[in-house]
Symmetry: C2
Subunit: 114 residues, 2 copies
Amino acid sequence: MKIEKSGNIRKSPVETEGAKDVAIRWLISKEDGAENFAMRMFEVQPGGHTPLHTHPQEHEVFVLEGQGTFVYEGEEHPFESEFVIFVPGNKEHQFKNTGDGLLRMLCIIPLRVE
Amino acid sequence: MKIEKSGNIRKSPVETEGAKDVAIRWLISKEDGAENFAMRMFEVQPGGHTPLHTHPQEHEVFVLEGQGTFVYEGEEHPFESEFVIFVPGNKEHQFKNTGDGLLRMLCIIPLRVE
């Protein structure tokens, strides 16, 4: 069991190529005993973005704060807080902060690779 | 792909025995193409609670709004918005709204049963 204020969980810069001004907190991960999926929080500064990339794992995203654009297979979709986004595996995607403030999102990924 | 404001997604009462004043929105589920895990939002009215129960599936929870008590294996743990809670499978648990306003939480569950 784990119960913790998310802001107390360690934040690290995302250094993946193509990421700009993004930090991550691994809220629930294998270290906590999670075997099937992990919950991460991303914090994107104004003007920042995640990499434009493709990978086999799906994403389940919930937007906590801010405004942005979701780039999916070459099309742009605006979003704001309280939006939910499902990104299937193997589809090109990117999240951009287009607002004046912080963009915060939860992003859940599978941990079992088949 | 799915992108949608969560408040636009259908809300249904939770009628499980032991639940009181709880509603659920299935934000991302099998119907959206999710195969590994599902994201639900729970809305608990003041004085309401989820059932005190045990099941094999784990929960990954993020508290969006409100205050409450997490009952886990007979112990009570207070929480508020921005808390993250990992509930391993087969452990007795319950969420109670102890505040004056709405309690809103995301709860992610696995979809593959082994």
